[in-house]
Each structure stands twice: as structure tokens, then as C-alpha cells.
């Protein structure tokens, strides 16, 4: 459609929408090459899967409400923890970030669409098949994958259920989808920027996604290699990870975490970009230290590629290796700290208002700092001997990921929803959503620190009596956290389909800067068919002032 559009130069006698508007019905969504449609598809899939994976988390928390069997047998419990992790990472956060990228990057850089629109369609439509295949393992005889989202060999190879092959193939599809999406984003940012949009005028969200896309290209093929080796071990007589055949189970962990650690930044960096858009808007002040923020993002990504063994400190790694990876890991807190300090400095002496996107951004800032600080503690190898695979780790990565990914995604949705739908959302309900989510989140995950320090291992369906009290608090928090998301669902659905709320202006937020705020709300089906001029681009980049 876009190619046709470029070819059709009949600008004199036109009724644009009837010529180039969306097709009707299901064909629009199946065949679309429009970046806004594809963004919507990604976000919708992510939204649905969030409730699926969230329900699984609530089942896990229900089982852990008290010692002894409550609801689930250990087989099913292990499947629930596995799927909760897999779906949250690959089905919720990554697609949501890709959806935001699709919607926003072309509008932020003054491009009319993504560079490779058909590829874009394909990278989305691989995902429903991948997740259908993954979920179909529940219908098979024998267990669904039950070896944790980190699927360590040989538990995931020699000792795994038959359905693991479907898991492997669905990871291949997800990886393919991510690689194609990342390629598209890189090519778009390099080639489709408005001529006036030079590198140091790019919004932080675009910078963050560019770095993220390179990380994806660096590590997703490694994940594909990892699951392929599993497949070979399972069916073709190889022994990559099988000690009995001369292989090495630790090799699996090296390969997995070479993907897995950068993956953490893949999940979080786009969120950093979102926060760098939102905080200046509601502080009515340009982002403090734009250049430092760009460099910090790049350095985080580079360092992120050389710290993977910090997940493997107890595997018997030699001391030299432990020291190298400990120092490198500690070093990451410097650029991460720069980010937190710059956001704080942006707020300092601003003119603050607290609409829902800003609340979630501030919630991110506080909880991400907590998660970052516990991360610093975990980076110390000797202490890590005690923390590793305990609930302290579970607490740490939920503080980092719930704030760094989920909160930033929610903040982004509130922030840009009026641009997408043309209508404001219910601010009052948004505030409720924020407070219930934040309270629920902290009640759920703060006690997990104590459980872990007191010696509770992760991934157990049943526990000793001394862990009971905190587990009950966690479970109560989890239900508050979970049910608060129904408010979110209601708000988004209302904003999309109800006419009750006021129409949004093009700028939407008083302090908002950026090209996306120069176009009408809702954003027309095609935007920036002619690139914005220098004056428009410069006005949208407050860091130039």
C-alpha cells in the first residue's frame, strides 16, 4: 500500500482517505502494511497475553498462599512459572515495545512509515502462530514445558517432556519476528529520518530503540542457536549439553545468558526512552543531559554484552572469570546511575503536574532505583552465593522489570493514547490504576527480598513454615496488582470506543515537545507524506535550545 502510495502522485484531485485509507474488516488487519495498524496489532496481542501470563502468576501466588498443597500439583506449578516468565518476556513486554516503536518512531522522525512495510506485517503475524504453538503444548499428552523460562539443560533436553520441541520451534518463530522487527527499525531510523532530523536531534525514545534493535540483532541469533542445539541434542544424537556424551551443561548457560543478559536491556532500554519523553513533558522543562543520556544508553548496551556470567557465579566459574564479570557488572551501575540522576535533575526546578503518565514515570523512577540498588548488591560475587536462585533474585528482577518495562509501557500508553484514539482517557480512573498498581506491586515484591534472604529458594510450589507470613502478604499484593489491571483494560477500551471523553488537541499535553505532537489527534492514517521542515524539526527538539 505504501509503495503504491509513493507511486501515486495524483495530489491535485484527491479524496485522500477513500483512496488510501484502511481496508475494511479483517483484511485490514491481516494484510496491513501501515505502521500504525501494525503498532495497534502488537499492542493488542501484548495486552491479551498480559492477562494470560498475569493469570498464571496469580495461580502461582495462590498455590504459595500457605504451606502444603493448595491448588496446583508440582507439575502444573512448574508449567505455570515457566509460562508466566516466557509469555511476560516474549509475549507481553517485547511486543508492547515493538508496538510502541511501530506507532511512534515514524511519527517521531518525520517518516511516512517504516522502511520495510511488508516485512513489518510478517514480523507481527509470526507472533500469533508462535504463541498458539507454545500454548498448544497444554493440550498435548505429557507435560507442557516445565523447566523455567531459563530452560537450563539437561532439564530441558534429556529430561524434558515431549512437548519441548514445540517450545523450541515457537522460540525460533519469536526470534525470527524480533530479528525482522529490529532490522526494520534500524533501517527506518538510518534511512527514513526527515532531512532536518540529524542524530543529536533524535528523541531519546528513538535513540533507545536504535540501541535496542542492535542488541536484538546481536543476541537473538544466539538464542536461536541455543534452542537449535537443544533440538539436536534431543533428536539428532549430538551432545552439546549432555555430560554423558562429552558435552557441557554449563555451555548451555553461557549461550543462554549471552542472549539473556542483553535481553534484560532489550526489555528496559525502550522504557528508558519513554521516561525520557514523559518526564520533560510534565516537568515543562527539557530533558537534562540529553547527550549524556545518549552516551549512557550506548555504554549500557555495550557493557551489557560482557556481563552474562553474573548469572552463573555459583556454577563453579574460576575466580578470575568471576572477578572480571563482577567488575563489569558493577560498572553498569555508573551509566544507569547517570540516567537516574539526569531524570531527577530534569524534575528539579521544573513545573510539575501529575497526570497518569507522569505518575507511572515517577513510580518507575522510584522502584527502578530500588531494583537497581539491589542489583548492585547482587553483583558482588560472595553475597551472590547467598542470593542466587533465592526469592531475593525474584524480588530484584521484578522491581527492575515491572518498573522498567511494565510501568514504562503503561506510562507510554497513557501518554500517547490520546494521539492514537483522538480522545482523552478518564484521568480519575488512571490515578486509581496507578495507586492500586503501585501499592499492589510493592506489597507483592518487597517481602520477597526478606523471603530470599531468609533462605527461600525460587520456583518451589511448597515451602517451610517459617516463610508463611511473608508469602501470604505477597499473595494479597499480587491480587491487588492483578485486579488493578482490569481498570487499565476498562480505561483503554473506553478511550478507544466510547465518545464520552473530550477530544484531544494535537499537542495533548501542555509541555509536550516532539514531531508526534505537531500532527492532529487522532493521528491520520498517513502522516508526514512530505517530511517536516527544519523549523518544525528544531522546534520539536528542546535539547537544542
Amino acid at each position: 500500500m505504501t509503495d503504491q502510495h509513493i507511486a501515486t502522485q495524483d495530489n491535485d484531485h484527491h479524496d485522500h482517505d477513500s483512496h488510501h485509507g484502511p481496508a475494511k474488516g479483517w483484511r485490514r488487519w491481516l494484510f496491513t502494511t501501515n505502521h500504525k495498524d501494525i503498532g495497534t496489532l502488537y499492542l493488542t496481542l501484548s495486552f491479551i497475553l498480559m492477562f494470560v501470563a498475569g493469570t498464571m502468576a496469580l495461580l502461582v501466588r495462590t498455590e504459595l498462599f500457605e504451606p502444603g498443597k493448595v491448588l496446583l500439583n508440582p507439575e502444573f506449578f512448574n508449567q505455570m512459572t515457566t509460562f508466566h516468565g516466557l509469555i511476560m518476556v516474549f509475549g507481553v513486554i517485547m511486543p508492547a515495545m515493538a508496538g510502541l516503536a511501530n506507532w511512534m518512531i515514524p511519527m517521531m522522525i518525520g517518516a511516512q512509515d517504516m522502511a520495510l512495510p511488508r516485512l513489518n506485517n510478517w514480523s507481527f503475524w509470526l507472533l500469533p502462530f508462535a504463541f498458539t504453538m507454545l500454548m498448544s503444548t497444554f493440550l498435548m499428552s505429557g507435560n507442557a514445558p516445565d523447566f523455567g523460562w531459563t530452560f537450563y539443560a539437561p532439564l530441558s533436553t534429556t529430561y524434558a517432556p515431549k512437548s519441548t520441541d514445540f517450545f523450541i520451534f515457537s522460540v525460533h518463530l519469536m526470534g525470527l519476528s524480533s530479528i525482522l522487527a529490529a532490522l526494520n527499525i534500524v533501517v527506518t531510523i538510518f534511512n527514513m529520518r526527515a532531512p532536518a532530523m540529524t542524530w543529536m536531534k533524535l528523541p531519546m525514545f528513538v535513540w533507545s530503540w536504535l540501541v535496542t534493535a542492535f542488541l536484538l540483532l546481536a543476541v537473538m541469533p544466539v538464542l536461536a542457536g541455543c534452542v537449535t542445539m537443544m533440538l539436536m541434542d534431543r533428536h539428532f544424537g549430538t551432545s552439546f549439553f549432555n555430560a554423558a556424551g562429552g558435552g557441557d551443561p554449563v555451555l548451555f548457560q553461557h549461550v543462554f545468558w549471552f542472549f539473556g543478559h542483553p535481553e534484560v536491556y532489550i526489555l528496559i532500554l525502550p522504557g528508558f526512552g519513554v521516561i525520557s519523553s514523559i518526564i520533560p513533558t510534565f516537568s515543562r522543562k527539557p530533558l537534562f543531559g540529553y547527550h549524556a543520556m545518549v552516551y549512557a544508553t550506548v555504554i549500557i548496551a555495550l557493557l551489557g554484552l560482557v556481563v552474562w556470567v553474573h548469572h552463573m557465579f555459583t556454577t563453579g566459574a574460576p575466580m578470575d572469570a568471576q572477578l572480571f564479570f563482577m567488575y563489569a557488572t558493577m560498572l553498569i551501575s555508573v551509566p544507569t546511575g547517570i540516567k537516574v540522576f539526569n531524570w531527577t535533575a530534569t524534575i528539579f526546578k521544573g513545573s510539575l503536574s501529575f497526570e497518569t503518565p507522569m505518575l507511572f514515570a515517577l513510580g518507575f523512577l522510584v522502584m527502578f532505583t530500588i531494583g537497581g540498588l539491589s542489583g548492585l548488591m547482587i553483583s558482588l560475587v560472595p553475597s551472590d552465593y547467598q542470593y542466587r536462585d533465592s526469592y531475593f533474585i525474584v524480588a530484584h528482577f521484578h522491581y527492575v522489570l515491572v518498573s522498567g518495562s511494565l510501568f514504562t509501557i503503561i506510562a507510554a500508553v497513557y501518554y500517547w493514547l490520546p494521539k492514537w484514539t483522538g480522545r482523552m482517557y478518564s484521568e480519575r480512573l488512571g490515578q486509581w490504576h496507578f495507586w492500586l498498581t503501585t501499592i499492589g506491586m510493592n506489597v507483592t515484591f518487597m517481602p520477597m527480598h526478606f523471603l530470599g534472604l531468609a533462605g527461600m529458594p525460587r520456583r518451589i510450589p511448597d515451602y517451610a513454615l517459617q516463610f508463611t507470613d511473608f508469602n501470604q502478604i505477597c499473595t494479597v499484593g499480587a491480587f491487588i496488582f492483578g485486579f488493578a489491571q482490569l481498570i487499565f483494560l476498562y480505561i483503554v477500551v473506553m478511550s478507544c470506543f466510547s465518545k464520552r471523553f473530550p477530544a484531544a488537541t494535537s499537542q495533548v499535553w501542555e509541555g509536550a515537545h516532539g514531531l508526534e505532537w505537531t500532527i492532529p489527534s487522532p493521528a491520520p492514517y498517513h502522516t508526514f507524506e512530505t517530511p517536516p521542515d527544519l523549523a518544525t524539526v528544531n522546534a520539536a527538539a528542546p535539547q537544542l535550545e
Partner: protein
């Protein structure tokens, strides 16, 4: 105001963590566990100071610069000096933490001059202990009954943390641990001993412990190993060297008796 509430809540949790036993990491009964505890607390206090700084500025800003109170934004957005300051200070803090961490790590890796060697093998889902020089070997299984797990019987006080044959070791003796596994990866973890070592098929990992106090210390498998991962606890009984010698003799005699 709401921020303050959140901050107070967080600090409340933090203080509670220090004051109440069973919430913080145990100090433990080995030199290594105590060193780890001190490192952990040092890192925790450093984090508290950093957190207080960041949250302090944040809370002040959120109160002082509200648009509803008429705050006007001041337009500044680059300051090289500040960027250098908040790059350098954290870096120095990191160096200050890295030094003790490196020292403690070197102690963990020093398995020389041990007085006793125990080989620990993880199985789905039990532990096997072998005293290499004493020719003793036995399996250690969960002794909590299935009825307790299914809520059909009252739970014993050490529900899921009790075994039929604990690992018995002498106090004040450096015990070298050789940890491996027979099937999938497990991890041998006893918090009060400061030991967590992955048990990996095809590898023998080394660690050590020198227990300073007689008593019973409990832990669990630390690495997801399948169906009954939650049901393969670890119990270590630390006894005086003379009691240990008696235990060894009795155990060897019993094994001999079984064979004749």
C-alpha cells in the same frame, strides 16, 4: 505527600529488615558466611545512602516544584560538571565495594588444608553424601510425609526441611565439599553455612565450610531440577570432633554388620 508516604513505607520495610530475625540474611556459623554477611550489610548501607540521596532530591522536588503551587520551570538542561560528578562519585563507591568483595571471594576459593572431604551428589530428588576417606556413603531423603504435604496430617515444625539421614560433620574442621550431580543440575545451599554450590553433571565443583558452633543447619536445593525440586532439603548436623569420631565408628560398624 503521597511520595513521602511511599518513602516512609520503604524505609519502614528496610528498618524492619534489620531488626527482625528471619528477615535478613543469617549471620551464619562459618567464617565465610560471616564475611558474606558483613559484605551484604556494607552494600546494603551504601545502597541506603545512595537511595536516601536520590529519593531526598526527588521528594523535595515533587513538593517544591508543583505547577499547582505556581512553580515556574527554570530552563537549564546541560551541565558538564554535574555529569562528571555523578559519574565519578559512584565509580569511587564501586571501587570501595569491589575491594572487600574481592578479598572475601579469595577466601571462598581457598579450599587448601581441609581436614575432611565430603562428596555431594545431587539426584532427582535426593542427595548422596560420600566421606571419601572414611568409606562412608549414604542417601539423604526428605522425611516429611506425603500426608503433611497434602494437608492430611499436622505439619511437623521442620516441615520440608527434615531428612532421614543428615550430613554429619565435625565443628572447627575445614570440610572440603566436592559437589556434582548425576542427572540434572541441582544446587547445594545452606544459608547459615554460607555455601551455595551448583551440582552439575560432568563437573565436580569445590567449596568448603568450617562450622564454628555445634547444631543443626538446614537448607534446600537451589536450582530447579524438575518435579520434586522443593522436596530435597539439606540437613547438616555439626557435632564435636569426638562425637564425629564416634559417629564414624558406629556408622562403619553398622555398614559392616549389614554386609556380614
Amino acid at each position: 505527600m503521597r511520595r513521602i508516604f511511599l518513602f516512609v513505607l520503604t524505609s519502614f520495610f528496610a528498618i524492619a529488615a534489620l531488626a527482625t530475625p528471619g528477615i535478613n540474611m543469617p549471620v551464619g556459623v562459618t567464617p565465610v558466611s560471616q564475611e558474606i554477611y558483613r559484605l551484604h550489610m556494607a552494600a546494603f548501607y551504601v545502597c541506603c545512602v545512595i537511595g536516601a540521596g536520590v529519593f531526598g532530591v526527588l521528594i523535595y522536588s515533587l513538593i517544591a516544584f508543583r505547577k499547582s503551587k505556581g512553580a515556574k520551570a527554570v530552563h537549564f538542561h546541560e551541565h558538564l560538571g554535574l555529569e562528571i560528578v555523578w559519574t565519578t562519585i559512584p565509580f569511587l563507591i564501586l571501587v570501595a565495594l569491589a575491594i572487600p568483595a574481592t578479598i572475601v571471594l579469595s577466601h571462598i576459593h581457598n579450599t587448601d588444608q581441609s581436614g575432611l572431604t565430603v562428596k555431594i551428589t545431587g539426584y532427582q530428588w535426593r542427595w548422596k553424601y560420600e566421606y571419601l576417606d572414611q568409606n562412608i556413603s549414604f542417601f539423604s531423603d526428605l522425611s516429611t510425609t506425603q500426608d503433611q504435604i497434602n494437608n492430611k496430617a499436622a505439619k511437623s515444625p521442620w516441615f520440608l526441611l527434615e531428612v532421614d539421614h543428615p550430613l554429619v560433620v565435625p565443628v572447627h574442621t575445614k570440610v572440603r565439599l566436592l559437589v556434582t550431580a548425576d542427572d540434572v543440575i541441582h544446587a547445594w545451599w545452606v544459608p547459615e553455612l554460607g555455601v551455595k554450590q551448583d551440582a552439575i553433571p560432568g563437573f565436580v565443583n569445590e567449596n568448603w565450610m568450617m562450622i564454628e558452633k555445634t547444631g543443626t543447619y538446614r537448607g534446600q536445593c537451589g536450582e530447579l531440577c524438575g518435579l520434586n525440586h522443593a522436596f530435597m532439603p539439606i540437613v547438616v548436623e555439626a557435632v564435636s570432633p569426638s562425637d564425629f569420631a564416634k559417629w564414624v565408628t558406629a556408622h562403619q560398624a553398622r555398614v559392616k554388620g549389614d554386609h556380614s
